[in-house]
Symmetry: C2
Subunit: 662 residues, 2 copies
Amino acid sequence: MMADRGRKRVVIENVRPEINGGFFPIKRVVGEKVIVTADIFGDGHDSISARLLYKRQGDKGWQDVPMKFIENDRWMGQFIVEELGPYLYAIEGWVDQFRTWQKDLKKKFEAGQDIRVDVLVGIEHLEKSVKKTSKNDRKKLLEYINILRKETDIEKTVTFILGKEIGKLMDRYPDKGMATRYEKELVVVVDRDKAVFSTWYELFPRSCPSRSGEHGTFRDCETIIPEIARMGFDVLYLPPIHPIGKTKRKGKNNLPQADPADVGSPWAIGSDEGGHKAVHPELGTIEDFERLVAKAGEHGIEVAVDLAFQCSPDHPYVKKHPEWFRWRPDGTVQYAENPPKKYEDIFPLNFETEHWPELWEELKSVVLCWIGKGVRIFRVDNPHTKAFPFWEWLIKEIKRDYPEVIFLAEAFTRPKVMYYLAKLGFTQSYTYFTWRNTKREFMEYLTELMKTEVREYFRPNFWPNTPDILPEQLQYGGRSAFTIRLALAATLSSSYGIYGPAFELCVNDAVPGKEEYLHSEKYELKHWDWDAPGNLRDFIARVNRIRRENPALQIPWILKFYEVDNDYLLFYAKATEDFSNIILVVVNLDPYHTQSGWLKVPIHELGIDPDQPYLVHDLLSDDKYIWQGERNYVELNPHVLPANILRVRKRLKRETDFDYFM
Amino acid sequence: MMADRGRKRVVIENVRPEINGGFFPIKRVVGEKVIVTADIFGDGHDSISARLLYKRQGDKGWQDVPMKFIENDRWMGQFIVEELGPYLYAIEGWVDQFRTWQKDLKKKFEAGQDIRVDVLVGIEHLEKSVKKTSKNDRKKLLEYINILRKETDIEKTVTFILGKEIGKLMDRYPDKGMATRYEKELVVVVDRDKAVFSTWYELFPRSCPSRSGEHGTFRDCETIIPEIARMGFDVLYLPPIHPIGKTKRKGKNNLPQADPADVGSPWAIGSDEGGHKAVHPELGTIEDFERLVAKAGEHGIEVAVDLAFQCSPDHPYVKKHPEWFRWRPDGTVQYAENPPKKYEDIFPLNFETEHWPELWEELKSVVLCWIGKGVRIFRVDNPHTKAFPFWEWLIKEIKRDYPEVIFLAEAFTRPKVMYYLAKLGFTQSYTYFTWRNTKREFMEYLTELMKTEVREYFRPNFWPNTPDILPEQLQYGGRSAFTIRLALAATLSSSYGIYGPAFELCVNDAVPGKEEYLHSEKYELKHWDWDAPGNLRDFIARVNRIRRENPALQIPWILKFYEVDNDYLLFYAKATEDFSNIILVVVNLDPYHTQSGWLKVPIHELGIDPDQPYLVHDLLSDDKYIWQGERNYVELNPHVLPANILRVRKRLKRETDFDYFM
């Protein structure tokens, strides 16, 4: 028979959050709350007590908070994570003999039963606790026992023994000898704020306005940093900055043959000039890169680099580590392919190699190399085409020493794979936002992201475009389609990004029948006219300023959709937990026509008096409206402004509503 | 770095069924199917193969079946459990290099690409397998390699190498060197048929028509066995048959004081005449009991006894094992109470005693004692007031040697506790059916029981009444309420039971304002008039015969509700997996009035031609109807027959529909 397990009468099950049975951590940022619920119950009718335990991983002792009974044997507790790095949480529950006794005594007394023996039982409980108490409490406890022994008026005895004072004291010394400890310790990975609130700008540095000639450089890049900052971005993501392969280099528009003048795809990494730890000579030097990182930092911008773990045929690894590639019977290396498509300018690394431990270490050293240059954010190219165990290991290894590092997964793949990569440790992920267009699609997708277990480990980053994707709605919807997609990305998700300047210049020429850019910047230099008429720079700057100034837009998962009687209008609210900042957003999803409708404003949920007017301030247009009650009218001309981003200017006194956020 | 984990590219997660992360088994009966699903995927675009492994626990080798891809990375496999006792199942998945190669070759060939090197890669795959093959297969494989080496016509080569023959051979020798094995082995407990299909009759043997005097005996009981069998019951459950305590014995109607003539509650177990291993002298001897068991067996009836682990103050345990009880400061034993209710005739066992291992062993010996007398079914009294770890241990211990034993939990308690007891191992459980009355309540509750994970471990047993519960609808609905409740219990659930003869005699006198029998048989002898006019014996016999003759009614969880335009009518279908037996049931939930309505018969799901008539045979009334299409009329007078139990007499050729049963 098993140790003392037989006497443990309390069950703890169905603990949430718990990802894959506790195999993977949940995610939070510093200062965020972890709400833990569980079914906790014992046999019979005895009272149960339960505590939520938590600590930083590696700490010796646990901190704890009492859990509260909700209903139907469900309990809840919460704590706040205050530092970077992993935390643990666990649960403990026990039959609370003293509280059971108090509860029963009260019932018996009220039913007029003889409770003299029960009082003696209570004294026994107190006596058992004497040994455990602090000096002060011991003195009190002995006093209580004395009073109870002497008191002859049973009514007085009961009033005294059921009093709060004794209960509180006894709560400090629970008899947990037979407590049940939940069989798992669960992990929370704690990131910094930027993990949930970030605004990304993707830029090919070689296309920066160049002072010295054709090919932009890191130095050229520095000159546009102030404008990127003015637009309100805080992450500048650069596609691979490494030497570009020459063998099988792709020509313009992805032609299999390159002209001698063609610059090639930056994702074909490595040449005789170096591999993943080198920079492309035409961009400048490592020192130039470090200068750029510093300069960006002065403007509140972090530089993110691309981790594209693949090689051009000229990459030094190919010669030095042939064992990391897959060789074909004709003595050539297997290039990347997704038949019938061929990517002959790229050799994938073979994660099935027997020499995987050396390969993993080398790739880790690449990440450490860029960390050494000041980089703390990595955008990871196609993580779903590399072995899963590698990512889990790599991210854990890096974050052990650098818990502030952020990894964004370019996981444009099937849903389960996308979510699995997040479980493995990726801080943020690209999403299907890029292809969601209708009201129903947004409501369903955002509900999945924000209102299910997914939100515990998957942090969306919404991109209206990327160098690989010019979605149909941007191809056909004109300038207003770009403003609509930006407003949606920036207000539905606390992290979003654009690939610029193609975005703000509303570039919409696609390869016919595809969602790809014609004359894609991936294969050629661009000389963008940043000041072209109709550009969206001021609009973007305004939206991003609204994001910065309104904490409701910086929280990823507090989002709720509400009714509006027009299917082209999407209406949702974001709010801080204390309701001090409430933003109502209405977006016209139709890029062609003015749409109008009647909103059903959730005044009851927001604590607004139905009989009093309230002010809403459209932060986009700066218009102010006096509304009253639930039904209010909106009209949006997408050629002027496609959205209202309304701040509710009502002083609310409502407490946090648990249900509202669940 | 971890062993060879780094090369394992396949992920297996979200395995169903898996109860509490695999901590508890699922349940099946011999011959039943286990359908296992899981998310299985790898990185990249390679083909995946997966197998479902299973074996009897303790067997050395695994059997396996291929799993099939369904959609969205979900896979499915199934096996049939063929013997009593525990089985294990597990999953294995791997990147299938050969199938990947075949798939890619086909695409490349169809795109007109040069595939000569690819053919060489294929030959390498074949060569790698040569070592692993059987003698016969080796010969074939070497032939294939030879043909491929010599063949110069690329089209012929491709046709040959993509042929089924090679694929099948290679499937027999998968390269599982880097296969991922799901981290858990999950358990199925396999019971005998009666675990899911059983028809219970609860009877106080002391109230059997007595030849010798007042108090019925086991011998008297024998005389009514044939009638219980005629009514179609296959389990005869006897409330505790042990010596009844004398101290604090309850009088009639649960009076605190008994008259000297009062017989007391059989649940106050133990006296100077013995405890849980003895029989009450007035019922007869142990030998009489064994005779009754044998006699019942001749009529296809199993005798179930009650495990009520509690003691009267006179139980031998109290003296012999005072350490198994909770003592109060006044030197008395704590009796059972749920304040302010007191049960002074009953001492609960203290499962928190330090001597729990001895207590557990003793209680196990009680079960073994009755197994020794031929009992294989136990109804367990109030399992939710005894420690959970005890039940888990006890049931496992008993079923290790006697896998045919059935434990029915009288778990009339909160939902999570009720389900938890089922997880711990109880074979069947009482349910909330007793208090479900409206169409919506039935649909919601049955959906929870039959269409959620609950069905994997919880087997309902529906009781319209028990000696403890005379529900309101039986108190007020007259005879038709009894026929309605019986029809519902018998057709909604494959296991059900009644407490008789109070049920078939439509006894409906309650303690005012309570759901308890007035003059309850729990506290007094009854001399029932089995032949009283209006008794339901023939009705019950008919319903039970229909259950025996129709396999659809013997399967617990194949049940679906359908539309009918009257809220007093409940319409549902049960069917065998192969659709060879389809039963449509319509029940009038209103015991007072005739109700009629139009059904929407699921002809499409059932494979019935909408343009052809079909015959439905009401097995209750023996009426036959020719129906056509979806909409058909029914009318039910509860004073005649409250239900149609319609067998669809249509020869169907439909295959099992996976979705239909999920």
